[in-house]
């Protein structure tokens, strides 16, 4: 077990969460229910390998390649598979197109559903009551919390992830990026812009 020793009393009335999790892991390993090395691989996967840079690549390609963009809105699963993105919590994907008229925002009011293969694990705020409560009734208020103001005539469509469908927002390509290649564009694509709580960076907000 890759655990350091603990100095808590056994059976303490209010064991802290750190100790309780460690204790449960020992039990499940002892019982043979879990392979501790599998736990390490699970953690590494989402700490190091899967995250919003995946989604950014998809968005950047959608910005430069009209055929890819069309496929993405027609059959997101197939479009993501071209990058090898799919699987757990992204089995059934749909891409949502932001336009000057419509801004999309994704939430899971009932739990924490989130498109893991393209965005990684959700940030704390996404899973917390303030966002889950507010997004469906006051998305402009949510955007304000993120320091974002949209034009008044832009409508906001909110997507509540109540099924196993998962959603990826495709933000609008920033002005002043004509001729940029995919890698350069991808650097503008923030995680929040793919949830709908933010916008992509502007060219002057990244180092050249």
């Amino acid at each position: 077990m890759p655990h350091d020793g603990n100095d808590h009393d056994e059976g303490s009335a209010l064991p802290d969460i750190e100790l309780r999790v460690r204790t449960l892991e020992s039990l499940l390993v002892e019982k043979g229910y879990v392979d501790p090395e599998a736990l390490d691989v699970l953690i590494e996967t989402y700490e190091d390998n899967v995250g919003p840079r995946n989604g950014a690549k998809v968005v950047a390609r959608a910005w430069v390649d009209p055929d890819y963009r069309a496929l993405l809105f027609e059959n997101a699963g197939e479009a993501l598979a071209q990058f090898g993105f799919g699987g757990r919590q992204g089995e059934h994907m749909m891409a949502l197109e932001n336009t000057p008229e419509t801004h999309n925002m994704v939430v899971c009011t009932l739990c924490s559903c989130y498109p893991w293969p393209v965005l990684g694990l959700p940030p704390v705020w996404y899973k917390s009551p303030p966002y889950r409560a507010k997004a469906v009734i006051d998305p402009r208020g949510v955007l304000q919390d993120f320091g974002v103001t949209l034009p008044e005539n832009t409508g906001i469509k909110v997507w509540d992830s109540t099924s196993e469908m998962r959603f990826l927002v495709i933000p609008m390509r920033p002005d002043g990026t004509e001729g940029w290649d995919e890698a350069r564009l991808a650097a503008l694509v923030t995680r929040d812009s793919m949830i709908g709580t933010g916008l992509p960076l502007k060219p002057n907000e990244v180092s050249p």
């Binding site: 499940l28 019982k31 953690i43 919390d145 409508g155 909110v158």
Partner: protein, 220 residues
């Protein structure tokens, strides 16, 4: 169930607080709680809908006072008890008082990447035609099931429009209740924000994925 998890439209929780350069995990125990939950899920002892049910079944005060990985951890411990995989003393001490139960499968480290890549698709064959088509007006049933449901309270009794027919998906309510997959047509239903909230909203529409058993044709 009308539990603490059904948060859409609730007020008084304050602002959303984004964290600059947020790490994937905030503590070692979060990593382990996350991985334990996935690894136990992979044993096939319970399904994802049952995991969600276990989380939303925590006492409301506890649910709202817990961080999300604390909720996962509590729910995991409860499922281990419910399925007879561990008892209270074992969970408290970390010492096994007997042999483990034999499980359907154990997730080994060399299988993790492939297992995550496969995921758990929930689309099933279409054995009957869809009751509704895109553009049709529907009303979400006014129901208050005590078990797991994915029909949020804010949509119940409200009229919306079928925006997209997603296909036939495993029905979460039945799946969580241990009644098998009971696949049903799933729809993206668009609700005008004012239909849900009256004038007190800044949204234009809310799209909710709803299974056919939640829906009825809207009276014209």
């Amino acid at each position: 169930m009308n539990g603490p998890h059904d948060l859409g439209g609730a007020q008084g929780f304050g602002s959303v607080i984004p964290e600059e350069n947020e790490p994937v995990f905030h503590a070692e125990w979060e990593k382990r709680a996350f991985a334990l939950t996935l690894a136990m899920g992979a044993t096939g002892t319970w399904n994802l809908d049952q995991s969600r049910q276990a989380r939303e079944s925590l006492a409301p005060a506890q649910y709202l006072a817990s961080s999300y990985y604390e909720i996962w951890f509590q729910a995991l411990a409860n499922m281990l008890r419910q399925h007879g995989l561990a008892n209270d003393t074992e969970i408290e001490t970390g010492k096994s008082s007997g042999h483990g139960k034999s499980l359907n499968r154990i997730l080994h480290s060399d299988e993790v990447v492939a297992a995550l890549g496969r995921g758990g698709p929930v689309v099933r064959p279409q054995t009957k035609p869809a009751r509704f088509a895109a553009g049709e007006r529907v009303v979400a049933k006014r129901i208050n099931p005590t078990g797991h449901t994915r029909l949020p309270r804010y949509a119940r009794g409200r009229v919306g429009t079928i925006a997209r027919v997603h296909g036939v998906h495993v029905f979460a309510d039945a799946h969580a209740a241990g009644k098998g997959e009971d696949p049903q047509w799933l729809y993206s239903v668009a609700f005008e924000a004012k239909e849900l909230w009256g004038p007190d909203t800044t949204a234009s529409s809310i799209h909710v994925d709803l299974w056919e058993p939640y829906l009825e044709p809207a009276k014209v």
